[in-house]
Point group: C2
Chain length 386, copies 2
């Protein structure tokens, strides 16, 4: 089912991992999306870590955020300098202990990191889908994850874990497939995308679509909308940080000079940082995927989808034990939004733990090492069956 190679003697590392693909084989190889559109075949890139036990009850699904991928931990090959995006959380003996659990992480539908998305070849045209790719939802992402989980021979997940857009998937799992979710850990997330969050996504999308290279999505055989995507990423980056974290990280420190340039170069370190983040991002991410995934996040509203507008009703079918975590300086999905989820879960009589972690790193905090978060997740996972 899954295998991994330990780095010789590394002990604490997961070692070399590989991304695998799961392609829906059911004829006609199509899925029906929430919009009513059909899409197929659908390939889902995924990685697994640890071993599925005989009872098949030790599987944990990790859901990634906007720009993440299936590569949650470990290294792809010995030359890799950067491990997976949640290396400090996932591995032998870590918060999500791969000695105990069989960890699955798959790339979300609509992304560009191996799973089917707008940059995938459209079998009908033999060209990338581009904007012919249908708009997908968080629910669609979860549907294909469920197909993968079944393909891996698993009926019930010990836990579903994820932050931000990953946390939306976790919540969606709880209400869409309650019988498959023993426990859930939504981090730094929300039950519905706020006007502020939609606004930031919309401006980022407008930045991409304003780039003439975007060309209505058809840029795969020409120059890419790098400048637009870089601006979109910079906007995102600001929302992932916080006033406090930016003051600590950059303040008003100047970049490589002692005085102002009196031109439009990057005078301040924070400017260089953003330009660098934008530039780096366009090397690895597809602009159309950015459009589709942000749109899915904007559409996310569990109460609308499942509760006729009521948060409480939305969770009426949920059964999972839940650990919810928010972060004090997260202004993209502020703590009050987590509290709304807690209230709705409790009103349904669910077993909910909630913690707001004091952290100055803004929304990004869920991705950064934090002892308290790690020990809470570890403790919660080991008592799911209690």
């Amino acid at each position: 089912m899954s295998e991994y190679l330990d780095h010789a003697g590394a002990g604490v590392s997961i070692g070399l991992v590989e991304t695998r693909n799961f392609t829906f084989a059911d004829p006609p190889g199509e899925i029906i999306l929430e919009s009513g559109s059909r899409l197929g075949p659908v390939t889902i890139a995924y990685e697994t870590y640890g071993r599925l036990n005989r009872e098949k009850d030790n599987a944990i699904l990790i859901c990634h955020a906007l720009s993440g991928d299936a590569h949650v931990a470990g290294y792809h090959d010995p030359e890799d300098t950067k491990p997976g995006w949640w290396e400090h959380m996932v591995g032998p003996g870590k918060g999500i202990d791969t000695n105990r659990y069989f960890v699955i992480c798959s790339n979300i539908l609509g992304s560009c990191m191996g799973s089917t998305g707008p940059c995938t070849c459209n079998p009908n045209t033999a060209e990338p889908y581009a904007l012919d790719f249908p708009v997908v939802t968080i629910g669609d992402m979860v549907n294909v994850q469920k197909a993968l989980v079944h393909f891996l021979g698993i009926d019930v997940l010990h836990a579903v874990v994820g932050g931000s857009i990953g946390g939306m998937q976790v919540l969606e799992w709880c209400v869409r497939f309650p019988e498959m979710v023993k426990s859930a850990i939504p981090l730094a997330t929300t039950i519905r995308h706020s006007a502020l969050a939609i606004a930031f996504n919309e401006v980022a999308r407008q930045a991409i679509m304003a780039d003439p290279n975007w060309n209505n999505g058809k840029y795969y055989d020409g120059p890419k909308p790098d400048l637009g995507l870089a601006v979109a990423r910079m906007i995102g980056h600001i929302t992932y940080l916080s006033d406090d974290s930016m003051r600590h990280k950059f303040g008003r420190r100047l970049q490589d000079k002692s005085d102002f340039s009196f031109n439009f170069d990057a005078d301040f370190q924070v400017e260089s940082y953003l330009r660098y983040q934008g530039k780096k991002f366009v090397e690895r991410f597809d602009a159309n995927s950015f459009l589709y995934i942000t749109k899915a996040a904007d559409y996310f509203d569990l109460a609308r989808e499942y509760g006729d507008g009521s948060d409480v009703d939305a969770f009426s079918g949920a059964t999972a034990k839940v650990l919810l975590i928010s972060f004090t300086s997260d202004w993209l999905y502020p703590t009050y939004q987590s509290r709304d989820i807690v209230k709705a879960l409790k009103k349904n009589g669910l077993d909910v733990s909630f913690c707001e972690i004091e952290a100055k790193w803004g929304h990004d905090a869920f991705l950064l090492p934090n002892e308290r978060m790690t020990s809470m997740i570890k403790g919660f996972l080991s008592h799911v069956g209690d």
Copy 2:
């Protein structure tokens, strides 16, 4: 010096006003900027309201923010449907009472609303300056305002008033020309631009400069970088609002439809609003001016300029009586930044009043009608001499 025509019988309106120009006439018609560059001739567009009294001690200077202009109140002609940008504050009997005070408002240096800026004709080339326009500072803006005030025959201002970037000018006045400032009202502002505020400005500038029509600033005889400027404006607009105000104003309400479009149209009202604001802005504002004014704001750091890094030392020469106002939901220049100013002023023994107004409208609150703000300003102005 100034004149205005009352709307027949209107009584509460300032009536028709006109914008006048003041061009520096001193040979060689140049000013020396903080960068060391020379600029000239310099024209400053301004409006005045009310009458300067015999003692010439009833003048109030109003400083506008990023996209404002000299037209602070009243109407330019009978067809105008929109009065000046602070109509509810400035006029006969209003918070800034034009029956009592002689009000001056001038367009800032670097803008595109009548004062010299990057879209002005460069006398050396007979073409618009574009990026040959020198980078200006808040200090430079205040220097030319001072020249205008002297030109109007005024030695001492009863008050200098302004919010946001206008508030920076107010603070700069207090330390640069203390002998000319009897009182000061900085609103929703800061003593130095934070990393967060710089970050937003930088991304907005990048959006403009990413537009190929920007053409390194030389677009005045061709297509303008409208798409880039629109994105820049949308980014700005988000920072002027707040999570709370956007939830109240838009929530997740859909635009002209009952369900999601499942495409990249504007589904939500907040998206339509931002697109509209972006589109409207490009009709009236110059992209290069946006670059220059945001850069001036980013450079603003009174402590660096006057206090060798110390807020307290920066105000050591200030003498004005000060009324400072911040707004609870302003996350661009949050209240703690106003408190820093209050502390520094008090340590210099200055007479300071401070009020944080409960308002959900974010940074924009200073521009919106607010009875408490109006009565505080009115009361403060009438007791300046006490």
